[in-house]
Every structure is written in C-alpha cells, then in structure tokens.
Amino acid sequence: MKKTKLGEFEELVLLTVIVLQEDAYGVMIKQELEKRLKQRLSVGSIQSALKRMEEKGFLTSQFGEATPKRGGKRKRIYSATGYAHKVLTEIKEVRAGLWASMPRLSNDLGTI
C-alpha cells in the first residue's frame, strides 16, 4: 500500500463528505471544514480536491436539487465509495498502531 494515495487535505475532505452524508456538496463541505479547522478555505482548493478524488475513484457524485439561492443551479452531492472507506480504515489503523507503539512520556496523562 502506497502512503501517497491520499493527501492530508484530501483525507480531511473525504472524511467530511462521509460525515455530511446527503448534504455533502461544495459549499457545505467547505463550511464544515472551515468550522472544524478554524481556518478560511477557498472554493478552488475544495473543488480541486473533490475532482481529483473522483478521478481516483474515492468519490462518486450526482446532481441534486437546485435552489433559488444558487440562482437556479443544481448542487452536486458527493458520496464516498467502498474503496474510499477501505483506504480510510487502512490509514486509521496505521495511525492507531503508531500511536499505540509510542514510548511512555513523562508528560503524558493517559491518552491512547
């Protein structure tokens, strides 16, 4: 398994997509991520990431509803594929394994 399959930012976006379920479209993903990261993000970076992951097969998408707020244009709802779930779990396991193998540090207060 290559470590470079998923970039850090892409992983965050992917996780957000799964979290948002049927609300996983551009603006929503951006706002959710901004809230959690406490950082401003640009539409461009989000869109870039989404399109790249779709190309790689981590996401699928389809058109959703149009609202007047969007000037009558439809949203694109993204959802993670089975392959995405698999890769995310792999990454999580690797991380968890590393955290578990870390030596006991004096300042540590019982974190796992």
Binding site: Y25, G26, V27, K30, S42, V43, G44, S45, Q47, S48, K51, R52, A66, T67, K69, R70, G71, K73, R74, K75, R76
Partner: protein, 877 residues
C-alpha cells in the same frame, strides 16, 4: 433578507468564470459561488461580498478546472470544414436568385478593383527600373515671372560640370539635351542607300553611369569619349546594318541641321523599355552639342536637362539650399548681371517621381498625374464597397430563411463562434467564386481597357499579382461577411424557433442607410460623368480664335531645306490646296518664350514672359487670326525682319496705349509693332491667354498646308507624291493639326470614358441590391398583400404601397448626393481656366434618372408579387 434576494453576483468575475471553467463543472461551481455570495451578503456589505466572490473566482483558476482548448477543437476542424462547405453549396443551389445577385455584384466589383489595381501597378513602375533610382535626381529650375513662378526642366549648359566640380555630394552629374532645331521632327540617318528617321539625345560621357540603359555592344565608359561618336538602338542597328554585331567603327551619315555630318558607331544600346519616359533612337555626345551651340556657354540661357547621382545618405534639403542660387551667382560673376531678375533658382526632384508628380505650384511639387491614381483608387474602393454592402444587406434581409437552422443548431449546442465561422466560410466561398468569375471578366475586358488607357496591361500571373488578388478577394469575403455572420449567429434560439425575428429599429435603419449610401455613390458618379463629358465637349468645340480644320503639318527635311519657297509655291498651285506656309512652332504649347523684352515705359523690375511664335508669310491668314488693329505680315513690305505683331494680352500686359508704330527691343534688335492680333488660345485651355508675339521668318521648320474640305484624300496623295519627288526614299509623315490638339486632352478624355463605364457599373450593382431587397420585402409581405387584394386593392395600389419605402430612401440619397457632387464638380472645374457653368439640369437629370431606375427595378419585383392570387398565399391561415 431582501438584500440577498435582489443582488446577483458581480458580472465580470462571473463572465471570466464562465470563460475559463470546464463546461461540465460550470453549473456546480457557479451555483456554489452564488450560494456563498448570498450567505456573505447576510454577514457583510455588498462590496465585501462581491470582493470575496471575485477572490474566489481568481482562486478557482487552477489547471485542473480550466477548459481544455486544444484537444477538443482539433478533432473537429476537418469535419466542420466539410460541413460548412456543404451547407454553403446547398444554400447557393436553393436560393439561386440571391446567389446570382451576389455573384454578379461581387464579381463586377472585384473586376473593377483588379483592373484599376493593374493600372496603378503599371503606373507606379514607370522610370523605376534604373539601378541607382534612389540616388537619381533631376535638377529643376524655378523662373520668377511677373505672374508667378514657372517651373521648367531646362537648365544652363554648364550646370552639370559645375555641380560635379564644386559639390562633393555629387557622384555623377549628367547632362542630356534635346535637339535644338526643329523640335518635333526627326533627324535622318543613312547608311549607303538606307534612309531612316530617328530622334536623338546629346548626352554626357557618364550617361550610362546614371541611367540603366543596357548596352548590347560597347563599353559604357568609352562609348562617348569620341566627340563624333554615335550610339544606335538595337532596332535601328538591325534596320541599317542587318545586325547588331561588328558594327562598331562603321560610319553613318546624319542629317540634322547644323549637326549634320558623318559619325562613327561606338556602341549599340537596347531600346528603352516601355516603362521609360525618355525614348530615343540615337545618342550623340554632349561635347558635340555644346561645341556647336555657343548659347549654351552662357549662364543666361537654359536648355538641356541636368541629372545628378547623389552619394547615399545625402540630405536633400541641405543640398537644395546649396544649389539654389548657383545659377544666379554664376550669372553675376560671368557678365553684367543685367537680367538677374529673370534668372531662376534650382532644386532637385527625384527622377522617377517626375512622371507622377509633374505639376508645380509656386516652385514646389504639387501633384500631377498622381491625382488620377488617387481618383481611380477611390472609385475602385467605392465600387467594391457597394458590392459588399449589397451582400451584407441581402444576407441580413434573408435571415428569416435561416431561422430554423440557426435555432436548432444553437439548441443542439453550437457555440456562437462555430456559427460565425460557418457564415464567414459561406461568404468567403462566395468571394472565391466571385473572384474566379471576376478574373474571367477581367480577361474579357482587358483589351478594351488597354485601348482606353493606352497601356499594355496583362493578367500576367506573377507571385505578387496572385498574392494581391487573393488578398483582395479574401478581404472582400471577410468584410462582406462579417456583419451578416455576427448578425445571424446572434439570434436567441428561444425567439427564433417560435418563428419571430426581432428586427430592431437599429437594424432597419442600418439597412436603409446602406441602400441610401449605394444610391448616393451612384448618383455622384452619374453627375461626374455628365460634368466631365460636357467639359470635354466644350473644350473641343470652343472657339479657339483660329481655325485648325483641315490643316496638315509635316517637317521640312531633306532637299526641302533649300528652296522651300519653290516647294510652297508649287503646293499652292495644286488643286485642293487652299494655302501653304511654314511655322516655327505649334499652337498647343510648344513655342519659344522670352522675358527680356523691352518697351517704352517698361518698369525695369517687370518680368513678363512672352510667347514667341515664328511664322512664315501667309500663315496667319491660313489660321484665320483676327486682327484687332494694324496688319499682318506681307511680302509687299519686304522681308519684315524689323516688324512684330503682338496679341491683345501682350499689349495689355505692357500697358501700351496706341501701340501701332511703337518699337520694342529684344535680342539686341529693334522691332516696330505693325499689328495687334485678337486673343487666341495657343496653349491648353487650362491656362488663360498669355502674352505673345509673332515674328516673320521665311523658311521655317514645320510646313503647314491647308486642304479643301472634302478633298483631303486626293490632295494628301498628291502632296505625298510631290514630296517624294523632292526627297527620294524618305517616308512622307504628316499629321492633322486637330489630332495634335485632341492629344492635349487625352487624359481628360480617358477619364471621361472610364468614368462612364464605372458609373454604369456602380448603378448596376446598386440596382442589383435594390432588386434583391425589393424581392425579399415583397415576399415577406405576401400575406398582407393577399388580404389587401381581397379587401379590394388594385394591383397598382399594391405596387405603390410597396415602393413607397424605397422611394423615400432614394430621395434621401439624392438629397445628400446633390450638394456633394456640386462641390466636387466645382472643385474639378476650377482647374480649367475656361470652363462650363454647372447647369441645374445636370443635377436634376441625375436625380431623376436614379429615381426612374430605382422605380423600374422595384417595379419589376413588386409587379410580379402584386399579381399573386390571394388564395395561394392565404392558404395556410
């Protein structure tokens, strides 16, 4: 919030977004941005929200999200091209009449343009073939006369030498002289028994260093080193010796007044090409000429032409300053400076420019033949413009035919650019077809055109010509097709598929404007044709103050040089000959001139140039000059060598009262005034009558014979035989005086003929346009016509209704054209000292003609339509 409901995202960033983002991402991204924008409006000001929006758009400009230009279009181009061509041909076939109208219009326009282009190209080549053309200049002289500065070619005989010696900028100074005696006739060259006529120049040794006349035999640096050398043209050499080789060193006999004698052939040159304004058959040495005519040694006289080759990089203005007063200073240092007031100043003009720029005003170059070039370029441009306007008008008018096609294409997804390309493609194919048709037309018209312009133009397809023609055709296609392409591709599918075309008032006015413009140009052309034609007829018919009919002239040559009197008296006895005499000049501008005339009461500062006409006994009677006072020359009064006759203008200029009997002095001699002739025109009608005088000399160079009307042929035959008894072997060459006169106005006549043709073409094209438009309008209003007929309108009523609109347009055109053409004609006529008055009927006539032609054109179309059976056109309701 109301605010977020009303505002829309900022326009320009949005446009930019739509421009670069991939098509498939556009809806989503645009929607996202808009949603964000609305959210921001709730929290921030409009300005900040817009700014944030713009910022986001800029940050979206990433490689992954940008449209892919190359890949897509390249795949399609060949197919699109085929498709465009196919559609174009289908369109042509389906609507044959508009196709034909466009074809005829465009090809006529293109043919005119090509013809004029060929002509202009030819004119521009004249005299440009000399190798050192960029450094080759002619020295011109400005003579200060009382009535203004007169610019002439003649310069002092020593000028070339002086320039070469005293000015380091001068690489070569060349002098070339025309024969001094008997201008207008040829010398006779003979070898054993072959006699030929030829005209000659007397040139300095370095002639071939300046002018690129190719030497077939002989070395250019040596050919004129012998004073008695002569060079022959290859034509002449062939006729005299049968070959151009091995004739160097042979001798020929030359008969030309004082310079007659035996000369040795030192070289053979190629006859000057048709692009050369200077033409000659023989070249002699200037040394010879200079030696013989002592008057050339004085700075007070001017005769030959002087040319210089300047070093590269010489500042012409500076050089002009230096040589300006050369003649004056030399004149002063060489004599008493008595006539300094008449000595002229010098300046340079580029030799190759002299052909086109040959008019001078106040001592400066002021146009000339080049104005004709400009005139005809403008005409060609306007004719082509009219043809393109037609195309534009018809295409946009017939747009309704193609509504469905455009609508469907756009709905399927054609971009505006694709549609524009398609329509431009159609117009360019049309242009290419018209181009081929026009080339055919040109080759058909070329012989007639050559006749009129006196040139030998040919459709010789060299690289430059092909390139220019194709460029013209291409541009026509683009120009003509641009407006329709833009117009047609701009239709909105929704409106168009419903069947409506929104003809905004702007468009309607544009179309009307185009028609008005076309007719305006045509009317101006018609009026110009009329004016030019009238003026030329006027010039021809104008009473010149003398009678030139039935007079032939020929040169005094051969044995006639002695014993002219016997020859003349024998002529006079012939039946059919009314009078015979000799003349030293002619009445169309070749006359001597002096300004050193002194008379009683002359103001010493005064400088008037008098024309000098030398006549033999009986000549003035032959021409029928009228005398205001006094008498003509007559043998009863002896040799008349101390008498002189002035014309009225001369007497007025001198301010003499009771002039008869008074004496004047010039050339060191005194003469008594014995008569005053009524004013007559001895120069072109461009000039007012200048002062002139007559002197009587027997035995002058041009023999004139007046023949009885109706007996020309026999009399000329008789004269010819008689002449050949005197001069064996010499051809008898004569010409009618009025032919000469006609030749004076050759260019005007050409302009007249050409403008007739061009006016015709302009009208043809305008009518074609009107024809097409009328047909189309009538077709559109078919249903309206049907209903009107049912309600009782007559055929004429319908015609009147349909023509009303067009009539208004033509009248508008007339209203604009008339003042414009009045102004233009007045301007042109001002060039002539004697001109016609602009009659009101020129303008009324042109306007009426235009109107009638327009009505006829419209009438034919509307008549056809007006007769339609209402049942047929209302069937679909």
């Amino acid at each position: 919030m109301s605010r977020s409901d009303q505002s829309t995202p900022p326009k320009w960033p949005l446009k930019f977004l739509r421009f670069f983002v991939k098509e498939e991402y556009l809806e989503e991204i645009e929607g996202d941005l808009e949603e964000e924008f609305r959210d921001n409006l709730d929290r921030y000001s409009v300005r900040k929200a817009s700014w944030l929006y713009t910022w986001e758009v800029l940050k979206l400009f990433r490689p992954r999200l940008i449209k892919n230009w190359n890949g897509r279009n390249r795949l399609n181009i060949y197919d699109m091209f085929k498709h465009t061509m196919l559609l174009a041909f289908r369109n042509f076939k389906r609507h044959k009449s508009s196709f034909l109208i466009n074809l005829i219009g465009l090809s006529t326009g293109l043919a005119c343009t090509i013809l004029i282009y060929l002509w202009i190209n030819d004119e521009l080549k004249v005299d440009k073939f000399h190798a050192k053309d960029a450094q080759l200049f002619q020295v011109m002289q400005n003579l200060p006369l009382s009535d203004g500065i007169k610019t002439i070619e003649a310069t002092p005989g020593l000028l070339a030498q002086t320039l070469a010696e005293e000015f380091p900028e001068v690489e070569e100074a060349v002098v070339a002289a025309h024969p001094m005696e008997k201008r207008g006739s040829n010398g006779i060259i003979s070898v054993e028994d072959t006699y030929l006529k030829g005209n000659e120049r007397y040139v300095s040794k370095n002639y071939f260093n300046a002018f690129s006349y190719h030497l077939v035999e002989g070395n250019k640096d040596q050919v004129l080193s012998d004073k008695y050398a002569v060079l022959l043209s290859d034509d002449l050499a062939l006729k005299l010796f049968g070959s151009t080789e091995n004739i160097i060193g042979k001798t020929i006999e030359w008969k030309r007044g004082r310079l007659s004698g035996v000369y040795t052939v030192s070289g053979v040159f190629e006859k000057p090409p048709s692009y050369s304004t200077t033409k000659f058959d023989l070249l002699f040495s200037y040394e010879l000429f200079f030696g013989e005519y002592k008057r050339l040694h004085h700075w007070g006289n001017s005769d030959p032409a002087t040319y210089v080759i300047l070093k590269k990089g010489t500042d012409i203005a500076q050089f002009n300053e230096k040589i300006k007063d050369i003649r004056r200073s030399k004149y002063l240092s060489s004599g008493d400076g008595k006539y300094l007031g008449q000595i002229g100043t010098l300046f340079l003009q580029k030799y190759s420019e002299r052909y086109l720029w040959n008019t001078y005003k106040d001592g400066k170059v002021a146009g000339g033949r080049v104005e004709y070039l400009r005139l005809f370029s403008i005409i060609a441009f306007f004719i082509l413009l009219i043809a393109c306007i037609n195309f534009m008008n018809l295409s946009t008018a017939k747009a309704s035919r193609r509504l469905k096609e455009i609508g469907v294409k756009k709905v399927i997804g054609a971009s505006r650019t694709t549609l524009i390309r398609q329509y431009l493609g159609e117009s360019i194919s049309m242009a290419i077809l018209s181009l081929s048709a026009s080339l055919l037309l040109v080759s058909l018209l070329l012989p007639t055109f050559n006749e009129i312009t006196g040139k030998q133009l040919s459709l010789h397809l060299d690289g430059q010509l092909i390139l220019s023609i194709v460029t013209i055709g291409f541009f026509t296609g683009i120009v003509a097709g641009s407006y329709p392409a833009l117009y047609l591709s701009g239709f909105k599918p929704a409106t168009v598929l419903k069947g409506k075309i929104n003809t905004s008032t702007g468009e309607v006015w544009a179309r009307k404007g185009l028609v008005v413009f076309q007719f305006m140009v045509s009317i101006i052309l018609i009026i110009s044709v009329l004016v030019v034609y009238q003026q030329i007829t006027f010039i021809n018919a104008k009473n010149l103050g003398y009678n030139k009919d039935n007079i032939i002239s020929f040169a005094k040559e051969g044995k006639l040089e002695e014993g002219l009197e016997t020859f003349l008296s024998a002529l006079k006895k012939m039946p059919g000959v009314v009078a015979a005499s000799s003349f030293g000049h002619d009445l169309i501008g070749d006359h001597g001139g002096i300004s050193g005339l002194e008379w009683e009461g002359k103001d010493s500062e005064e400088r008037i140039r008098f024309g000098n006409l030398e006549v033999d006994f009986g000549l003035m009677e032959m021409f029928g000059f009228e005398m205001k006072a006094g008498r003509m020359f007559s043998r009863e009064f002896g040799t008349e060598e101390s008498t002189i006759i002035f014309n009225e203008a001369a007497i007025d200029a001198m301010g003499l009262e009771a002039p008869l009997g008074k004496t004047v002095k010039f050339w060191g001699k005194e003469r008594q005034i014995i008569g005053i002739a009524k004013n007559f025109h001895f120069e072109s009608l461009y000039e007012p009558v200048a002062p002139c005088f007559f002197q009587c000399y027997p035995n002058l160079d041009n023999i004139l014979v007046k023949i009885k009307a109706g007996m020309e042929k026999e009399s000329i035959e008789r004269i010819r035989q008689f002449y050949q008894e005197y001069n064996q072997g010499l051809p008898f060459e004569y010409k009618f005086l009025d032919e000469d006169y006609q030749a004076l106005y050759a260019s005007e006549r050409r302009v007249a003929v050409l403008s007739r043709y061009f006016a015709g073409m302009a009208i043809l094209i305008s009518c074609l346009g009107l024809f097409g438009l009328a047909a189309f309008t009538a077709e559109r209003r078919l249903k309206e016509i049907g209903i009107r007929k049912i309600l009782g309108s007559s055929v004429w009523g319908i015609i009147y209704l349909l023509s009303e609109d067009f009539t208004k347009m033509v009248i508008a055109a007339i209203a604009i054209a008339l003042p414009l053409s009045y102004f233009l004609s007045k301007n042109w006529l001002n060039n002539f000292a004697y001109r016609i008055d602009l009659q009101w009927w020129f303008f009324a006539g042109a306007g009426l003609t235009a109107l009638l032609i327009a009505w006829l054109t419209i009438g034919i179309q509307t008549f056809k339509v007006a007769r339609v059976n209402p049942v047929q056109c209302l069937r679909d309701e």
